[in-house]
Point group: C2
Chain length 505, copies 2
């Protein structure tokens, strides 16, 4: 940045740098806890995290920022909307205004409810009994509702919470999108179910040596362009990705000895997030633009590499020889086309994280409809189990036999009860809309995949998505990149074409 900026702008960058440092430090503490720390360290780590997060919140809500942001108002208006300067002030203002609304008392009550809720959720899981989780969940819901009221909204309390993960988006828009998805996906699942046996995925359920799975996963990660020299890959119970700077990005995966998918596709998924993190321009480091556009946008990047690339025919044409080298026994007699079909088997199932591309959105829609019903006071927290089971029967044709594989499966509600899952499906929808824009610019992308070359797509996402950091809200970003608002058309077209082909519908 040049030296002619107002001194308030320089001071904003200084304060934000400190705030961003503390966010990154908090992420280092999380990463260490998930991948390295002995369990006995958890009491100490809880203290470390609480102190760092409190200091981060104090930094973001400094009175000085109010004065600075007011002083910068007219200067900001003189800068182009999409300039770095105007965007830095705009995004800083949005985050500051949200943060100061929330009293420290509520911040710490939410944080305590999160810890307590996590242990209550673990207890309930151990007893496989949702009713034991109800009191904690009730408290979490009450606090999240209070947070929504505190943040403020025009139409629906969930608008206030959704705005934190998907800035600018409204619950009514999510509802409209989800209705469109349901209308096409429920019949598609039904049609596929009637073709049971058309796809055989037994080849995925064999013994796969754990260290070979890990090495092959790393080969996949490298192939799609994640730079392991400016990052790391480690094991964790739940795969995740995190960045401490664009040049220190860490991903994790896990290994099941008797199932191929979790390690390999977990790696591609997290490396997709990681590609986004490595693609944020270094000039945005320690500024309000250092993140991504939204949770959904982030998910669009992970899904691009996991599904649009990693579960494509072209990918397995290119990558199959590497798979054969790693697992000659397990792949003997299997063609790339059979493997491609196997990793795309559609089957209504109970567990979200194991769901295929077609049924996945229905898992999210079930959760969203339940959350909204609770906020609309059409459903009580204690009724969530029965409502969950009923929706599964209706949309997926199956009913969870126990809570562990039903309403108790996700960690999310143990700490927050809002529009907690919608970003996953919004990410799927965005991913295809972005991908089709990329294909319009580079029609030969799929042929490149078959040759093991994914740099064309990475280059396109770098320039069109990653380069903007968090400059744009997700709706703005979609217009900037594709000229269109977010639309379900590309995603539904893709899903229908791909699975009609595989299942001969």
């Amino acid at each position: 940045m040049d030296a002619t900026f107002p001194e308030e702008f320089e001071r904003l960058l200084e304060i934000w740098g400190e705030y961003d440092d503390l966010l990154n430090v908090s992420q280092v503490l999380d990463w260490d806890e998930e991948t390295q720390m002995p369990r006995s360290g958890s009491a100490g780590r809880a203290d470390h995290k609480a102190t760092v997060r409190r200091l981060a919140h104090e930094t973001l809500t400094r009175k000085e920022l109010d004065r600075i942001l007011k002083k910068l108002e007219s200067w900001e208006k003189d800068q182009p909307y999409d300039s770095d300067q105007a965007s830095i002030v705009r995004v800083a203002r949005r985050q500051y205004e949200q943060a100061v609304k929330v009293p420290p008392r509520l911040v710490s009550e939410l944080s305590r409810a999160d810890s307590e809720g996590y242990h209550s959720w673990l207890d309930a899981r151990e007893a496989n009994d949702f009713t034991r989780f109800v009191p904690a969940l009730h408290k979490i819901y009450r606090l999240c509702r209070e947070l929504a009221d505190t943040l403020g909204y025009e139409e629906h309390p969930l608008d206030a919470l959704l705005d934190q993960s998907e800035p600018g988006m409204k619950i009514c828009e999510v509802e409209a999108i989800f209705e469109e998805l349901k209308k096409d996906i429920v019949p598609l699942v039904d049609a596929v179910s009637r073709k049971e046996g058309a796809v055989n995925d037994a080849v995925l359920h064999q013994q796969f040596d754990e260290s070979k799975q890990w090495s092959l996963g790393l080969e996949g990660v490298k192939a799609i362009g994640f730079n392991l020299k400016e990052g790391r890959a480690d094991k964790s119970v739940h795969p995740f990705s995190t960045a401490f700077s664009p040049r220190d990005v860490r991903i994790t995966s896990r290994v099941f000895p008797d199932f191929f998918n979790p390690c390999f596709f977990g790696f591609l998924h997290e490396a997709g997030h990681g590609n986004y993190m490595q693609g944020i321009p270094v000039k945005y480091r320690r500024t309000p633009l250092a993140g991504g556009s939204s949770s959904g946008t982030h998910e669009s990047q992970s899904r691009t590499w996991e599904n649009l690339v990693g579960r494509s025919r072209g990918f397995w044409q290119g990558f199959f020889p590497k798979l054969q080298t790693a697992f000659p026994e397990q792949t003997r007699g299997t063609t790339p086309e059979e493997w491609y079909r196997a990793v795309n088997k559609v089957e209504p199932s109970l567990i979200r994280v194991e769901a295929d591309e077609v049924t996945y959105s229905l898992h999210i829609i079930v959760r969203f409809e339940l959350e909204k019903a609770v906020y609309d006071e059409d459903l009580k927290v204690e009724e969530l189990r029965d409502a969950w089971n009923e929706k599964f029967r209706k949309y997926l044709g199956i009913v969870p036999p126990t809570d562990l594989v039903g309403v108790l499966q996700d960690i999310h509600w143990s700490g927050f009860f809002g529009a907690s899952f919608v970003s996953y499906t919004l990410g799927n929808v965005m991913s295809v809309q972005f991908y089709e824009a990329a294909l319009r610019e580079k029609p030969g992308l799929k042929d490149e995949f078959a040759k093991g070359d994914y740099s064309g797509l990475l280059d396109w996402t770098r320039r069109n998505v990653h380069a903007h950091g968090s400059k744009y809200k997700p709706g703005e970003l979609m217009r900037v990149v594709t000229g269109q608002p977010l639309s379900t058309g590309p995603y539904l077209g893709y899903i229908k074409r791909k699975f009609s082909d595989i299942y001969g519908l």
Copy 2:
């Protein structure tokens, strides 16, 4: 702590808890940097560390603490000196009073000189030319001298700096101790040198499989009581140990494929520090008593396990079968006694970290005498190389052929120029004085070692040293534990007995 304490005491604990969290977080950032982080993360990490350290310093120098500590003065006097309460206030006051003396400007100048000095030192090492390091070293010396003046002293500027690592100790005491050591050790080295060939350590210089070295090191670590379930062991270029809480203690080592000592004894050394960290009572967590007594006291614990135990005859009587199992080829035809003699070979050498138990103190004395001469203005910074070489000739009978194995070998002066090395030798001296107190209480300790049982010594150090945390200054601790002031007698007696036996003097 019970509820009848003054509210200022509770508030002190609250503020100190936050300060201690930030210190621990800063250590997590260091640990990650040394063991996990990709090099490309260093720019980001420098920012994270600067922010956390600045906030820690701000927390420790809060005006509120001044008021609190004043209010607690009379209450503190009513508590027994060695009570937890009085000790917490006393140690907090000492640290607060030191911290507020140092202006933030000097803190950040020292920190910048540290970074710049490190790179200048690396450059000079690459060129193998001390003169290239002189300008940076001069700046570091000037700032450290300013720090000494700022902190204040009665007799010698180095007293002010020494007080930070060895509270309560004076440079004139160090000088007296070092004179006593020199008087006995220089002739001992001379006598041993005349018995060249009496000990053959060729057995240590063979090819040792790296992963087997690592596993054997871990066996040693476990044997001496370090709890790996409440800690970790990782590789790093320079071995170190660190604690984020008494229940999350991390040690590192390194492996040379063709030399046995660095991995195994590095592990025992760091696990000795680790034992101290794991032995600090959990009730002291987040209080001013959460650390050790001093750097020297810490070193006494690492040296106890590395040398007094790990280089003892009893240890190798007990541990030799494990060594044989790991390295049957390399130990064929070697007796435990021969191995014991090999790991105790005395040889004047150039590199401090590779020095044996006898010559080690001379390496430290050389450095201390040079530091003191610079502070006394008897020596200029640019003359350090020649003075170094001359002292090596005088005390060890050898002269470094190049700066890399001479004046440029240690990292310490690249960031600080004070009494930077004395704690190492003070630790050696303390270790034997503690050990003899342990032997008076438990005369059978050495027989236990031969049976592979080290719990008696660990138990003794837990109760007598670790249990006090940083309640006592090192001089006080020595009196509490042994009834005596620090004395060179036990250490010199031990060294002379042990090596007269080995070398038949």
